[in-house]
Symmetry: C2
Subunit: 410 residues, 2 copies
């Protein structure tokens, strides 16, 4: 035990836990071991995720999964950062972890070598302008942003060891960059991810599976807990099954489609054009395609072009659903972090939070009722959109949870 009031060594993780599985557990333990931390602080996406999807389970259920499996303190990654491409996503997460006074940040990557990340950062400090030019030119030729980045690196420096067309390398690079840009004292660590491919859609026989493959199994077979029990900790599986029973379903895009279609068809094109990430006349394409698509996947397929990645379009769908405008989002990104918000904590997390309350420069916020900051307003709007398709009694039980509930203690 450290002396009372002294700060324990803390490692920060950036997570979605959608849902929590053995790979997450492995990473968590490895992070603690490699950094010598006493405390694990996870900054976790709230209701909607980086790839522009509703989280399968509420942030409260995912917080319980995290606390039952070794995380000491779960902090909310607000909607305004959770639903962004890597750069903004990472800068929000790092800003929160800095305010949470973690000593280090540990992330999984395809590379596994922190030196490669530092090297790339130096390279970019020197070659930013030509690199930007190349990215722009590749995008003008119709490439997606990630692909354009990768091509730009190839043109400028064949010796860059870090491949940026792999999603966790991109995120990792932006964590390291955000730490440097924000002048943070956080020390970054990385190890190679166990799961070979983030995009795996079939379940392996081993105990480590991608979250994508777990979601896919649940989508194909809603009663398929027997299919995934070897890849999830018992407590997390239990939480998942309870949620599915209580709410009658998990949150998938299809559940939201009638609401999204209603929203789009009852909006004018100029209202659609005011939504964040609705660029280049997409509002006309949105309205025309959605009126003839009977499911979300049908709509996305109709919307898809080489110009826009699936993820980009899903993020746009998320902002349409939550009615998040350009003006609103840009003003949130321009203001400094107003608060950090614990969603849950263990006994040890609670002690750590006591220390934070004395030393953090921002508010530690437990309920939205206690603030009227626009960041909280946008979050409340997102969480109320998140519960829109639930049956009445469950919807009503959740509707003011963000507004009035205090963090979970476990």
């Amino acid at each position: 035990m450290p002396p009372i009031g002294a700060k324990q060594r803390a490692v920060g993780l950036v997570v979605e836990y959608n849902p929590f599985h053995n790979g997450h557990l492995y990473h968590l333990n490895q992070a603690k071991h490699e950094t010598g931390a006493d405390i694990v602080v996870a900054v976790m996406s709230s209701s909607f995720l980086q790839r522009g999807e509703p989280a399968l389970l509420s942030k409260w259920a995912r917080t319980k999964m995290a606390l039952a499996n070794g995380v000491d303190l779960v902090l909310e990654l607000p909607y305004a950062f959770a639903t962004q491409k890597a750069e903004l996503f990472a800068s929000g997460a790092v800003a929160i972890l800095s305010e949470a006074k973690v000593d280090c940040l540990h992330f999984g990557s395809e590379s596994g070598s922190i030196k490669d990340f530092h090297h790339l950062l130096s390279f970019m400090r020197e070659n930013r302008e030509p690199w930007d030019e190349l990215v722009k030119s590749h995008m003008q030729q119709g490439q997606s942003y990630p692909k354009a980045c990768a091509l730009a690196f190839k043109s400028l420096d064949a010796n860059t060891a870090l491949s940026l067309d792999q999603p966790n390398n991109i995120l990792g690079y932006h964590y390291v960059k955000a730490i440097a840009d924000q002048g943070s004292a956080i020390v970054p660590y990385t190890t190679k991810r166990l799961s070979a491919d983030y995009h795996d859609t079939t379940l392996p026989s081993s105990s480590i599976a991608s979250a994508t493959s777990i979601r896919q199994s649940l989508a194909n077979e809603p009663d398929g807990s027997h299919l995934i029990k070897h890849v999830m900790p018992e407590s997390a599986l239990q939480e998942l099954m309870t949620y599915q029973t209580d709410f009658n379903q998990l949150h998938t895009w299809e559940l939201y489609y009638p609401f999204l279609q209603y929203r789009v068809l009852s909006s004018s094109t100029s209202e659609l054009a005011s939504i964040y990430e609705c660029e280049e006349g997409l509002e006309f394409r949105i309205q025309e395609t959605i009126s003839r698509s009977s499911t979300f996947i049908e709509w996305m397929t109709a919307m898809k072009t080489k110009r826009y990645t699936w993820t980009r379009l899903q993020r746009l769908s998320t902002h349409l659903l939550t009615n998040t405008t350009k003006v609103e989002m840009n003003s949130l990104h321009q203001s400094s972090l107003p608060y950090i918000r614990p969603l849950g904590m263990t006994e040890a997390g609670q002690q750590y939070l006591k220390y934070l309350k004395k030393h953090s420069s921002v508010t530690i916020l437990s309920r939205f009722a206690a603030t009227d900051h626009p960041l909280a307003k946008t979050e409340l709007k997102a969480s109320r959109s998140y519960i829109a398709p639930l049956p009445t009694s469950q919807r009503m039980a959740q509707i003011d949870k963000d507004f009035s509930t205090i963090p979970i203690r476990m």
Copy 2:
């Protein structure tokens, strides 16, 4: 038979047919008889009604009911006029009937004497200013608009035979006034309504019932066709039952409540304040009360004050659901009628329409695909909001009907 190309004598009716019943049939026959008309032209509210409710059945189903029971030509009363208090509602209906070249307009009223309406009109020409002052002052004392009107008349002229706190007298007065204001050649007729009370909620044993009591019976007992078969023509009852089977339900406010709640909770207060009829800070009350109300009726009860009639609040709910703004609505009311739109016609109605096509000064519009007038855009938005809560296959079948369907022929 009249000579080909000659105009037949036509009587105009202003209707909702929600649903079509024996009282409507009686009125229709009486109108034809009293005016000596060959042709009946009904201008019918589209998807949402004057009291701020979704119509029980689609405009297409209600058009079929009308055509099967003696109406020759059904014209759409657009959303922009159908969901308004008496003055605007009547001015829209009269403008359309004028363009439809009807010779007379026949309406039911509590009074039953057309002389009383003319007398009131003259009285108002002379006393408008003091009357306006009195209405304003009564409203400032917390009276509703209809009540304030009635009180103003009492103060100014105890001899006014026409009681303006009865809904069909108010409508009738505004028909007569609109005819005069618009310099229309239409001759107004009225007879006393058979059904004593517009607001009756229990079914009588006789063959004439109010639409309210029919809707109430259906709400209490969805399979209650045996309860209402003595008060509706066989064909209309059949249409109602078929609709209920095909669409799984009739359209009631409760069906829309999850969508309305979602809309309100994902809007900012300034967005709510931009909605038509959202006045005097109601946006805060709307958002606060809807987050704790699990049904539409619960919400309306929470919203209700002496200041606002139930109908006024229901109309506001309609505009919230359809996302109709003040700017949008006011600009529609300021522009002149761009088209009249037939929803359906009999053989005789078709002949009449041929005459109209030659002599009307506005477009005869059959599909919204053929126009980009804002009036059609608002209508399309309303009809797409109207079908939002239907199950997917029925929703998809209806979604573009307004856009591409031509009028029904029967």
